[in-house]
Amino acid sequence: MLVFKAVKVWAAIILLACLAGASPAAAAGVEVKTYTLKNGVELLVLPDHRAPVVTHMVWYRVGSADEPEGLSGVAHFFEHLMFKRTKRLKDGEFSKIVAENGGQHNAFTSYDQTAYYQSIAADRLPLMMKLEADRMVNLNLKPKDIATERDVIIEERRMRVENNPSALIGEQMMAMLFMAHPYGTPVIGWKSEMEALSYDAVMDVYRQFYSPANAIVIIAGDVEPDAVRQLAEKTYGRNRGPKAEPRQRRAEPPALAARRVVMEDSRVRQPEWERVYLAPSYRAGESKHAPALSVLAQLLGGGPTSRLYRRLVVDDQTAADAGAYYSGTMYDLGQFGVYAMPAPDSDPARVRQSLAAAEASVDAALAELLQNGVEAAELERAKRRLRADEIYARDNLMTLAQAFGRALTAGLTIEDVLGWPDRIMAVTAEDVRAAAQAVLRPEGSVTGLLLPKAEATKP
């Protein structure tokens, strides 16, 4: 099997992220120490002494879904501005200090969270904590700082979305899937709204969401928990701020109609078919189905032994690749997606036929699953695979820290994360069938077809 470099999951674009988080992973064997500082900062320490390095992450419970209406992209824009000056540091000094200490750093924004991180030699941790604690409350942004950075995020949008027809149809599909809830708005923002983001709008994000009580600090690596706690008291512990306010998002009305999005674009060389269903997450909706949906995504579309791959790529030969995914670590509703990539073709009429054939294959596979359920052997394989993924996740400090950070900012608890493997192993064939029946409903779905435009000229 050829491993496609960009396995596409239209639904979940995490900006600036280097890694896609696994499921709420992590596990039984993970040693995690947790503390809550007096000002509300949650501190997690994950000791790992294999190498003298540490990953330091600060997560804030604010993502694009927390933005005021009409200001799409402001959470992500603000994330960029966190690298500007503070009351103590000049513009550019933050990055310089991290670099001269041999650190790598970055940040990312998603629907439910914004995170900042450094990977660095373990003895540099105190300095990193001081820097992050400083910008949590002491950012000294000036109105003149924002204009060039706004141009940068618009270039980021051009690169990620507008230069890429596959990303463009993904935006259209999400906007259709979520009729009211802000998950329908792209994390990076709509261009017209990004262009108008003001100094006041970004400062409102800072004032409302960047406070100790809204922050989670995760430190994974070659450290001793008690020493880290003392450092945290001396740095983050000195910050003051308001209590965290409950997150208020618009509720999603009942989905009553199957929707279809067809996009023709002259730039398309590789047609795509995808369907995304509204689904419960590990926190919201009928969340009892969430572990079974993780298992379902694996056995339906996790690699070359999965049902969709076997049917579309091997048996029916209606696609070059096919798969499924479940985005379940969300504060509100999640998504369950299935996709297929038919053979490339520049003739729109033929592409329509091949997309229809791929869709028929997917529908047949889903119908069979809904009718006959799953077999014991494939269920066992999927569960073991997920369990192994969780052990593999522990091999990488960033992956491990991300699993906890994503889960906690999506409203889950440490117990949810630690108990996840057991919940996966307890999933039965009946659970999978019940979850499939609850989620794979046409009226809760958007189907997207991406194809070349008629006037496309051959390269």
């Binding site: 050829l2 496609f4 003298p52 670099a99 200490n101 690169m159 593999y392």
Partner: protein
């Protein structure tokens, strides 16, 4: 067995625990030497293997894509297991196994839970020594390669890179796209695929690093089982030394996209060049240093012209290149290009400052331990070192090489290596006021 204890020394002011990464070299009977880092804190074993002179530069003429095609087929059935049986076995035991081809080498990567190590190594060995190349698997992977080619064709950065390599290495195997094109992929037969595997996957070309929950004795047995049945010697096609020499100038590839995606570059140096470390330090200042580089500062921070801009020095076995990239809205693409040209000229003519030198050295030495932060990273790093011809003690020495670089060295290599007038620019998009000054290579 030679056993070397190496300290990862971080040459920074201040205290740092001199933690050892213990690289053992082990002699695998009938296979050769492998590097091992033993660590029993997680029940995971990771292995990376590389075959020298087995990359896409070895693709036969008009059969471009062969090495990539072979890599795609290695987990599609081996021995008496067809694709379904082989993949099902991997899945049941949660074994991760993947293969890939770069320009000079082919790679295998595997990660397994300790409890499944015997079967995992047996399957890896089968994949490399007895791949089946069944007809249905070949057609499946061929289709996937067509899709990969189509995807690359609609990805501006891939289009730009492909055109740049075509221009820089015209007439040399490095000029050809790694995944081939629709015509070459159509022409590849089963015989081509099995001939490629038979003539390139051999013990004499093999480089291995194994990391994790395994003892030296176990590792020897596992690897002897996996690789022992490979033929002794490969018979690769000789690849000529070449100097990247794209025509100086601009090549516009018209595409209806709002952001011009630009790749620029000229000749660089190979890994064994005595100026390698000075070049690394110099490039950090120019465009290698993330948020700290001159290009990021001028193009992104000061002017908001791009989300990303960077330069790298990339070494191949037979050539070296300096390559950079930037993405800027069509209306301002010319401005980005002008600034990049100015900055390269400035660094060449006026050199770097002591402060820039110090920052580059601090980052490059201080961040070295991050290359060893997971089993997969360690295995990858140790294979890369072996491919470059280093001994295990390189890990302890490496930062001293960086420390030894002086400002005079940086300024000298800037003059030697930077040649803004020789840059070949590929601009994919609809840039305002930018037109082709050199013809495109086929």
């Amino acid at each position: 067995m030679k056993r070397l204890i190496l300290a990862l020394i971080v040459l920074l002011a201040g205290v740092l625990p001199a933690r050892a990464i213990d690289i053992q070299t082990i002699d695998v009977p009938g296979v050769g030497t492998a590097w091992l880092v033993e660590n029993h804190s997680l029940p995971i074993i990771a292995i990376q293997a590389a075959f020298r002179d087995a990359g896409t530069a070895q693709d036969p003429q008009a059969k471009e894509g062969t090495a990539t095609f072979v890599a795609g087929l290695l987990n599609e059935g081996a021995g008496d297991m067809d694709a379904a049986a082989f993949q099902q076995r991997l899945e049941e035991l949660a074994i991760e196994m993947s293969f890939s081809a770069e320009r000079d080498e082919s790679f295998a990567f595997m990660r397994t839970l300790t409890e499944n190590r015997n079967e995992a190594f047996r399957l890896l060995g089968l994949a490399l020594t007895r791949p089946r190349f069944d007809a249905d698997a070949i057609e499946r992977v061929r289709k996937q390669l067509f899709a990969a080619v189509a995807q690359a064709e609609q990805t501006p950065s891939a289009v730009a890179a492909k055109r740049w390599y075509a221009a820089a290495f015209a007439g040399h195997p490095y000029a050809r796209p790694k995944e081939g094109d629709a015509a070459s992929l159509k022409a590849i037969t089963r015989d081509d695929l099995s001939a490629f595997a038979a003539s390139h996957f051999a013990r004499g070309s093999l480089v291995i690093a194994i990391v994790g929950d395994v003892t030296p004795e176990e590792a020897k047995a596992l690897m002897a089982g996996a690789f022992g049945a490979l033929p002794e010697k490969a018979t690769p096609t000789p690849v000529a030394e070449v100097k990247a020499s794209p025509p100086a100038g601009i090549e516009v590839v018209a595409r209806p996209i709002p952001q011009s995606t630009i790749v620029f570059g000229h000749a660089g140096i190979k890994r064994d060049d005595p100026d390698w470390y000075a070049a690394l330090v110099m490039n950090y200042t120019l465009g290698g240093g993330g948020f700290s580089s001159r290009l990021v500062n001028e193009v992104r921070e000061k002017r908001g012209l791009a989300y990303y801009v960077y330069t790298i020095f990339a070494p191949f076995d037979h050539a070296g290149i300096m390559l950079g990239s930037v993405g800027t809205q069509n209306e301002r693409a010319a401005e980005s290009m002008a600034i990049i040209g100015t900055e390269i000229t400035k660094l060449r003519d006026q050199g770097a400052t002591e402060a820039e030198l110090a920052l580059a050295k601090k980052y490059l030495t201080g961040s070295y331990p991050l290359s060893f932060a997971s089993s997969g990273k360690i295995a990858g790093e140790l294979v890369a070192l072996q491919l470059d011809g280093f001994a295990p003690d390189f890990v302890a020495k490496r930062n001293a090489y960086i420390e030894a670089v002086t400002l005079a060295d940086v300024n000298r290599v800037a003059k030697r290596l930077l040649a803004p007038e020789n840059l070949h620019w590929v601009v994919v998009g609809a840039p305002d006021g930018v037109t082709s000054t050199v013809p495109a290579k086929k």
